[in-house]
């Protein structure tokens, strides 16, 4: 076969290992592959927040790591920091903090955020230094590559890569369309 068949599909699908916001039985699942140091992801962050608010109980949101390490020197550790916070039950708090403080992602900043979020800082710093969550971040990255992620951010709507714009209006329209299609 010379041509790829069909649109890129999320591989593997959303499972219990994922970080999820919103109801499990929501008609639409939006998956983002993102990089905390990527300016485009930083711009997408409030847009995702807005669609979550607008769609309330009808949307499930999942974030997977796709750090572009060669162009974003802080991206890998930032991703591991979010996972380390997740290990202490605060993935989304750290996720939000990282995008809101995208301009300050040195290790000392990450540790400062962990303290602000009330995490066990010693454990956090140790896990970060030892790369405890590096394999998990790599797993996300590999799954992104196999799913056809072609940059950051890449969004999947109900498992299919969304190649359209992720500005608020088109993204919301695509999600609403997926709600209708799911009926």
């Amino acid at each position: 076969m010379s041509r790829r068949q069909g649109a890129a599909q999320l591989t593997p699908p959303v499972t219990a290992r994922d970080h999820v916001q919103g109801p499990a039985d929501a008609p639409v699942t939006l998956v983002e592959y993102g990089d905390y140091e990527c300016p485009h992801c930083g711009r997408a962050y409030p847009i995702v927040k807005a669609v979550q608010k607008l769609m309330a109980g009808r949307l499930r949101f999942v974030f997977r790591n796709f750090p572009l390490r060669e162009v974003h020197p802080h991206a890998e550790h930032a991703a591991e920091a979010a996972e380390a916070a997740g290990g202490q039950g605060k993935f989304w708090d750290m996720h939000d903090r990282l995008f809101e403080r995208q301009f300050a992602l040195d290790d000392e900043n990450l540790i400062e955020y962990a303290a602000e979020l009330g995490l066990d800082v010693e454990r956090f710093a140790e896990e970060l230094a030892e790369g405890v969550y590096a394999p998990r971040v790599r797993e996300d990255f590999r799954s992104g590559v196999l799913s056809g992620v072609n940059g950051t951010p890449t969004f999947f709507i109900n498992g299919v890569r969304d190649d359209d714009s992720w500005e608020l209006e088109p993204l919301l329209a695509a999600l609403e369309e997926a709600v209708v299609a799911s009926r």
Partner: protein
Amino acid sequence: MTDTNPLSAGPLPPGTRAPDFTLQSAPDKSLSLSELRGQPVILAFYPADWSPVCGDQMTLYNEVLSEFEGYGAKLLGISVDGAWCHAAFAKHRNLHFPLLSDFEPKGEVSRRYGAYRRKDGFSERALFVLDRDGIIRWSYLSPLTVNPGADGILRALEALATQASPA
């Protein structure tokens, strides 16, 4: 015989012997495809250096390089940009694989692979995976504005690896 695909009928299909070429890989170096015989090769033709987005195709492949290398494969990026332009781009993006200049005669190699946009004067976004004997095993032409990602390449390399060592 510089243009075996005058009508731009699409990229050379699987089963075709990959045309050999020698192109500049740096201002003072050149590379021949035949030097890479014995290992899988990925040829990634692309329109131009300095794509404005941070997730552009060459940047992505640079991040996925270790996955490609896991299959023993060598990645070559090819565009009509000159060697000095490639050198600056590769340095800026921290690229760890060669970018070849299909610069003089302009686009000749791209043409031979059916991967040239004559009216635009630059290469298509076209991908080829070659086996260790230099036979094309997979090819893909992406719409110009769509970064094809790396999944197709990885699947092709996986298929090659499976064929090479049947379980």
